[in-house]
């Protein structure tokens, strides 16, 4: 039963997430934290930090990790399968049809119309993370870590892995 739930959770989130792996993150969070309670919001955030610090696609890392925590190797494999297979199978089987309609406004609109909703989901997740953090470490540390990591990642273009590592060191010694 648990395997069925794992497959369903990751199938659902990835078949609804338009705009690549990152778009599926808030949907995954909704399923694994709010609906199935497999991990807490805090654990999800830790996994997301680690996922962002490591290279490669994010959705499969989240699926592989959470699947493993809930259902071991089989759970991990199923979560990854549910993440990758449905849209790949669609792509392989419908290639001819999709190629013909790749410039059709309807097809282009599908991705575009979903984007603002994905932005809402991501924005709410960001807000909740700041909110949780406020009760954990207070406004001073949030400002320091938040502004510091923003400047390093987005302005100085330091590798996100190094920024996460720096925040871990900060947490180990100061918090």
């Amino acid at each position: 039963m648990i395997y069925l739930h794992i497959f369903w959770a990751f199938f659902l989130t990835n078949i609804l997430g338009y705009g690549g792996g990152p778009a599926t993150i808030p949907l995954i969070q909704k399923e694994v934290v709010d609906h199935y309670h497999w991990v807490t919001a805090q654990e999800f955030n830790e996994a997301l930090a680690m996922g962002n610090a490591l290279p490669g696609p994010i959705a499969t890392k989240m699926g592989g990790y959470i699947g493993y925590q809930v259902g071991g190797y089989i759970g991990s494999g199923l979560a990854v399968l549910a993440t990758v297979a449905p849209s790949l199978i669609l792509m392989l089987t419908l290639m001819g049809l999709l190629y013909k309609f790749r410039k059709s406004p309807q097809v282009k609109r599908m991705t575009l119309y979903v984007k603002p909703t994905i932005a809402v989901l991501l924005g709410v997740m960001a807000f909740e993370s700041f909110y949780d953090s406020y009760f954990q470490i207070g406004i001073g540390h949030i400002l320091l870590l938040g502004i510091g990591s923003y400047l390093l990642m987005e302005k100085v273009k330091v590798h996100p892995g190094l920024v996460v590592f720096a925040s871990l060191v900060y947490g180990a010694f100061i918090l």
Binding site: I15, L16, Y18, G19, G20, P22, T24, I25, N45, E46, G51, N52, P55, G56, P57, I58, A59, T60, Y65, V80, T83, V84, P86, S87, L90, L92, M95, Y99, K100, R102, K103, S104, P105, Q106, R109, L112, Y113, V114, P116, T117, I118, A119, L122, G123, V124, M125, A126, S129, F130, I137, H141, G146, S149, V163, V164, L168, A172, F173, I174, L175
Partner: protein, 190 residues
């Protein structure tokens, strides 16, 4: 030989790309088009455009499809595993190591300190989605759309999946504008 090249191409592009699958796409293009010359730029652009119209992660769809075209089913599996497996293994090992030391005070500090950093990453990602919405929908409709989605999902508690399905239906059913129709005819006639 071919399977080895497939593995190298996708392993390298995935291990060098940070910030999720979409950032690995230019690296995949470099390997597939420039280094191994498995397809030309235009073909790659078409495959990418099609991958973008389908839901779910882009990088694995690209890897799966390109791997399949070059090396059949073994090539497909090879490309996908090269893209995702190394980082999943690292993820499981690193996080479970962290969990084992969860009760130590300094490890708790680490897990707390990482939350604002994740929040910043999510904020940046949110802004990227807003910007690309504005490009296609303009500010007025983007704002309207965001407000409606926010109210429906957060205040009425409607599952985001239902909102997304409704939007997809609207995208398909709504008739195209004349300028869009012209573009469509042009696209089809090529």
């Amino acid at each position: 030989m071919k399977q080895r090249d497939i593995f190298i191409a996708f392993f390298r592009s995935s291990m060098l790309g940070y910030g999720g699958g979409p950032t690995t796409i230019p690296l995949v293009q470099k390997e597939v088009v420039e280094r191994f010359k498995w397809m030309n730029n235009e073909e790659f652009g078409d495959v990418l455009a099609i991958a973008n119209t389908l839901p779910g992660p882009i990088a694995t769809k690209m890897a799966g499809y390109i791997g399949f075209r070059i090396g059949g089913v073994p090539g497909m599996l090879n490309a996908i595993f090269a893209t995702i497996l190394p980082t999943i293994i690292l993820m499981v090992i690193l996080l479970n190591t962290l969990i084992q030391f969860k009760d130590l005070k300094w490890v708790q500090g680490m897990t707390k300190a990482v939350v604002p950093v994740v929040a910043v990453m999510l904020t940046v990602l949110t802004w990227e989605f807003v910007q690309s919405s504005v490009k296609g929908l303009k500010w007025f409709f983007t704002t309207l759309h965001i407000l409606v989605a926010l109210v429906l999902i957060e205040f009425f508690g409607i599952h985001p999946g239902i909102v997304i399905i409704a939007l997809l239906v609207i995208a398909v059913v709504k008739p195209a504008k004349t300028s869009e129709k012209r573009a469509k005819q042009k696209g089809l006639s090529i």
